[in-house]
């Protein structure tokens, strides 16, 4: 339990994370890719044919606000998880490498508590990343692409019209779903981060896990495994823009991430709580 005398302490990991320039550079780079796509679209006016390319990209020339959703679809497969794996892989191993881990633990910060705080900070980082992509995508889309009035209805993937209010809450739900989708990778990187004193090794390990999963999704022979792969339901967030919303894959996606998070955090705890800190 977190005692009242502990207030303020929970924010320390956030301060450490967001006081680093590298965190902001990661967020900047994350937004650079969709912005580049928007610039190219505005310049050439060539949108992918409907049904091809990242989701929603076909529609953004008409309605620029939709670019916020398109931007999410652009960063989701690779850029966002890389940023998450790097930050989460660094979390414990980075402290070990810098030697600050031993000082945190003798301060004392309980080992379980430290893991919880680290995971909390990573989750916040994911949320900041996703929200920034949506916000930047929206602004860039309005400025560079189709400048349709805000009241314009959006055509859902099912062909019916969605009011701006409906689009707004579905987008909030999408932000939540994508944030949760990243937590499996985050938990994997955090677990690896407790195994090694090298942040690079932890991040690369988490990326290997991710790339392996993406690869298996393309192999027919791996079909029995596919429902359990961590990246399987990531792009299901577009189901939020169907009418009515197609919940099944969204629910499976959330449940699957939940299982990964619980199992991997338990593994991280089992390893870290009894580990000799020799860094």
């Amino acid at each position: 339990m977190i005692g009242s005398s502990d207030r303020g302490a929970e924010g320390v990991e956030l301060v450490k994370l967001f006081s680093r320039r590298r965190t902001w550079v990661a967020i900047l780079l994350l937004n650079l890719l969709p912005t580049t796509v928007a610039v190219l679209l505005a310049w050439t006016g060539i949108a992918p044919r409907p049904g091809s390319g990242p989701a929603f990209l076909a529609a953004v020339l008409a309605n620029g606000s939709l670019f916020s959703i398109a931007a999410l679809a652009i960063v989701l497969p690779l850029f966002l998880p890389i940023a998450v794996a790097v930050v989460a892989g660094e979390s414990v191993a980075g402290e070990a490498e810098a030697g600050t881990l031993r000082y945190l633990l003798v301060r004392p910060v309980g080992r379980t508590r430290l893991l919880v705080r680290k995971f909390g900070a990573i989750t916040t980082f994911v949320l900041v990343c996703v929200v920034s992509v949506v916000a930047v995508g929206y602004v860039v889309g309005r400025l560079l692409l189709g400048n349709a009035p805000l009241s314009t209805a959006m055509i859902s993937l099912s062909g019916s019209a969605l009011s701006p209010a409906q689009v707004a809450w579905r987008s909030v739900a999408a932000i939540g779903f994508i944030t949760v989708s990243m937590l499996g990778v985050a938990a994997m990187a955090l677990f690896l981060s407790t195994l090694t004193d090298s942040p690079q090794a932890a991040s690369l390990g988490a990326l290997a896990f991710l790339i392996g999963s993406s690869l298996l999704l393309t192999v027919d022979a791996a079909r029995p495994l596919q429902p359990y792969l961590p990246t399987r339901y990531w792009l299901s967030f577009i189901d939020l823009y169907r009418d009515p919303i197609l919940w099944s894959n969204l629910e499976r996606g959330l449940a699957l991430q939940g299982v990964y998070v619980v199992v991997l955090l338990a593994a991280a705890w089992a390893n870290f709580a009894t580990r000799d800190i020799t860094s």
Binding site: G3, S5, D6, G8, A9, G11, V12, V15, K16, S19, R20, R21, A98, G99, T100, R102, Y103, L104, L105, V106, R107, P108, V109, G110, T274, D276, I277, T278
Partner: protein
Amino acid sequence: MRSAPPGSAESAADLTPEVVIHTEGLTKLFAGGVRAVDGIDLEVQRGDVYGFLGANGSGKTTTVRCLLGLVLATSGRIEVLGEAMPRRGASVLPRVGALVEGPAAYGHLSGHRNLVLQDASGRRPQGQLGGGRKDRGDRATEALAQVGLGAVGSRPVRGYSLGMRQRLGLAAALMRQPELLVLDEPTNGLDPQGIREIRELLSALNRTGTTIFLSSHLLAEVEQLCTRIGLLDRGQLVLQEPLARLRAPTGRVVVVSPDAARAAALLGGCVEHRDGERLLVKGAEPAVLNARLVSNGIRVSELGPERRRLEDIVEERTRRRSGEVPR
């Protein structure tokens, strides 16, 4: 050398000295069967400046890490400030300041910011130690001034020299005014001036009641500061005694004289050993011996009771093969 342990006034008051660090059969086996620490029984009393000596690789750092709950002992019992470690770490460690195997800080933050963050990351100490959020900044400023970093506290640690980082590590250990300081090689990387300053700082803290556990391989440092010595050799504690007892006069008298040959002839069988102008005389009282030599017209340039140097004691007790790092 100190004539009486600084804590003696306190311990005289309640007669039974309080044991601050106590281990029984502390053993740590690392993977691969390396016995880094082998059944050591430490005893550090309140008010001690305990010098924990040992060669590189003798197990000092592993012992320190066990005391602080960073490394989990394979067997044995550890009590720090009267409570079992590592089980009671949450209540023991807020009362302990530690410097373990070199300082560490976040390079992109200032020294002051590092101290504040480190303080904020843990539970607020209970009771009179106080030190909540409100005065955190002030305490950090004070700790920086204590170690002589007052002027550079606002600069990023990235630009600190090794000596400055060492001082910052000390400041972090001091910030909550701990009852016990566990310092592993605290003067590493400091210049002679810095070493003296730190020594004075530690003496002053000890006089105000802080118990200090100082692990070091610098005999001179330990000899000047410590009241008790523990000597570690290949994971085993081969010596644990008050420094004053170790360095008590041996009963022999050292005489240095340009007329050594005549002096030796005069004293006859009392001379145990002669080395050039230096004589080692047994069974004599220095003042009487001096009078006897001078009255016989023998010039004396130095005369005094023999005291053993710490270096000799350490050499005698460790069975170290020269030039070899043990395990």
